[in-house]
């Protein structure tokens, strides 16, 4: 018996499983694709509809509201750079992908994270899953995603959501665990309902750690969205991929800088909105 026979080959059973899913759940996947494309299309239309300078000014105003004139300058500057580099459409596509992916990640990770903080068993069950999700190289997610949803923004979005969930979930659990026991007692002793304790006591106390989780989720999602240029997700990732395949330094570098600008924009705005001076 050769060593080759002993080698573990998960692909041997993953591929047929995906095949089976494809055959039997095709209508469901098609519906997911339509929903994702609708969502992304809407976001993009909202950002591409008005002239670019309008969006840039709006971003500046948002930045000013969240963190004063420095934030305003940063937000407007970042988008202005994307426009100036001639990458407006690609940048907007990437932005839309990231925003939608992060929203979905948070929607899934937050309740699960809270549940895990309350129920040690749930946490014990989730931990190995999260470990695997975080150690598998990100592009590996893309393979089954593409097999199911074929090329395009949908597999990119799904892979990004999967990739963004673990940091958000872990830090949500940590954030809620860190809430000192006496504050929960205060809530109970005051006669607060569990819902009131969650929103009025736990959430505000958990906010700084939640902000860290959201921040990681955003930056990892951005990295994944760029990587997803490989599978035809469009946006800045596609520009980078093109630069790579044609070995052209200029466009690749320009797209890379635009990605940095978007990363800065999302990072600072999300931080300011969560642990800013307001509230």
């Amino acid at each position: 018996m050769s060593l080759g026979d002993l080698a573990v080959s998960p692909g041997a059973w993953v591929a047929p499983a995906v095949e089976w899913l494809n055959v039997n759940l095709h209508p469901a996947f098609a519906a997911v694709t339509r929903a994702v494309e609708g969502l992304l299309g809407g976001m993009e239309a909202a950002l591409l509809g008005p002239p670019a300078w309008g969006v840039i000014v709006a971003a500046g105003l948002l930045g000013w509201w969240l963190g004063g004139w420095r934030m305003a300058a940063l937000a407007a500057g970042a988008l202005g750079f994307c426009r100036g580099a001639g990458l407006w459409e690609a940048s907007v596509e990437t932005l839309a992908l990231v925003v939608v992916a992060v929203a979905l990640s948070v929607l899934i990770a937050f309740p699960l994270g809270v549940l895990a903080a309350r129920r040690p068993r749930v946490e014990a069950g989730l931990r190995p899953v999260l470990d695997v999700m975080q150690t598998v190289p990100p592009w590996v997610y893309l393979i089954p995603a593409v097999m199911i949803f074929s090329l395009g923004p949908t597999p990119a979005l799904i892979a990004t959501v999967v990739y963004g969930i673990p940091p958000m979930l872990r830090l949500t659990t940590l954030a809620f665990r860190q809430v000192p026991r006496e504050f929960l007692e205060l809530g109970e002793a005051s006669g607060a309902a569990p819902r009131t304790i969650l929103w009025r006591i736990e959430l505000p106390l958990a906010r700084p750690t939640l902000a860290v989780g959201l921040n990681q989720c955003i930056l990892l999602s951005l990295a994944m969205v760029v990587l997803a240029g490989l599978v035809g997700a469009g946006g800045l990732g596609a520009e980078v991929t093109r630069g790579l395949t044609r070995m052209e330094m200029g466009p690749g570098l320009r797209a890379g800088l635009a990605i940095v600008a978007i990363a800065l924009l999302l990072d600072r705005l999300s931080r300011a909105s969560l642990d800013g001076r307001r509230g």
Partner: protein
């Protein structure tokens, strides 16, 4: 307040047990059947006995102190009173309602409206202003914002913090934070206030000041309180009655004077050994029967002695004896001489013992 109202029981604990651990039921049964001790329960069932067969009554308008060393089960006991902890057995009635019968909203209403709580750690929400913290209880009850802030402002005024309403908790000193905690409890206007070592972390001077403020405020507002402390001086200063706990057991309940004069066992005696009796023990506890005294000292005219009332403390009595140069002080109640305090009786009072045999007056 009439004698009837004063004796009305607000909180009634009957044989309450709390055993922590997975085997609590079995442990409890073994305690009932075989009378295991706390250590035996720990060894055999790996369960911790937090509160052991506690029975207390807290009356309307009284400040009831629970005193005991660390780990004696004080926090467990006080948390049983608003059911933050479920008792393993026994019955707790608050304002005539059996706590174990209250479900969901009914229990929350009971906590929100009738039982306030103040914590050692204060637990002020750091992101809210002092005023918003003080209004928290009312917010939970769904009182409209304007109204609850108004009530909270009044509560802050009561504890002398009106000028700090707009500040954040971290800008306040420990003593001030503890006052906010008290204001938060008062704002919801509960009849009963539970205090779990609220002043333990404060320095002695501020602590004294808060003790006095707390006592007068509670009396002024006609509230009842259960006050936990590990400091007997504090219990004496604040409490109308004191319960002493050891290893989950309530070993003695009584007024400070009763406990000092008649400690239930060596443990309590050790506790009270260092306490100054001067302001604690009153004339009625150290006086002799007037008739017996007259027989023992026929040469002295009782009517000519300086006079005082039964509640005069030893310190005042010593002043009178020293100042008058007489053989003793006559204690008068309702126009009648009810007793005589002698220097010998005073010395025994200072030592914390009841007056000795009269034959040696």
């Amino acid at each position: 307040m009439s004698a009837m109202a004063a004796s009305e029981v607000l909180i009634d604990c009957q044989s309450v047990w709390k055993v922590f651990g997975d085997n609590a039921r079995a442990a409890l049964r073994a305690i009932a059947d075989r009378g295991l001790s706390k250590t035996e329960v720990l060894q055999e069932f790996s369960c911790v006995v937090g509160v052991s067969d506690a029975s207390i009554q807290v009356r309307r308008g009284e400040i009831f102190c629970v005193m005991g060393l660390s780990g004696s089960g004080k926090s467990t006991l006080i948390r049983l009173l608003n059911r933050l902890i479920e008792p393993s057995s026994g019955r707790i009635t608050v304002k005539g309602q059996d706590l174990s019968g209250l479900r969901g909203q009914a229990l929350r209403d009971m906590r929100a409206k009738h039982i306030g709580m103040v914590f050692q750690s204060v637990a002020l929400l750091p992101h809210r202003t002092v005023l918003e913290n003080a209004a928290f209880g009312l917010e939970v009850q769904g009182v409209a914002r304007a109204r609850r802030l108004e009530v909270a402002r009044e509560a802050l005024a009561r504890v002398g913090l009106s000028d700090w309403a707009g500040r954040l908790p971290r800008e306040l000193s420990g003593g001030m934070q503890q006052r906010v905690g008290l204001a938060r409890a008062l704002a919801a206007d509960p009849e009963i206030i539970l205090m779990d070592e609220p002043f333990s972390a404060l320095d002695p001077l501020i602590r004294r000041q808060l003790q006095d403020e707390f006592r007068s405020l509670t009396k002024e507002l006609g509230k009842s309180a259960v006050f936990i402390t590990h400091d007997l001086d504090e219990a004496i200063r604040i409490g109308d009655r004191i319960a002493i706990m050891r290893d989950g057991v309530i070993v003695q309940v009584g007024t400070a004077e009763e406990i000092v004069l008649n400690p239930a066992d060596g443990y309590v005696a050790d506790f009270v050994a260092g306490i100054s009796r001067l302001h604690l023990i009153k004339a009625h506890s150290v006086m002799y029967e007037p008739a017996a005294w007259a027989r023992a000292r026929p040469e002295v005219d009782v009517g000519a002695l300086p006079r005082t009332h039964p509640e005069a403390d030893i310190d005042a009595l010593i002043g009178m004896v020293v100042g008058s140069g007489q053989e003793g002080v006559a204690v008068v109640d309702g126009g009648r001489i009810v007793g005589v305090v002698t220097p010998r009786g005073l010395l025994q009072g200072v030592r914390g013992t009841a007056p000795a045999d009269l034959s040696v007056v």
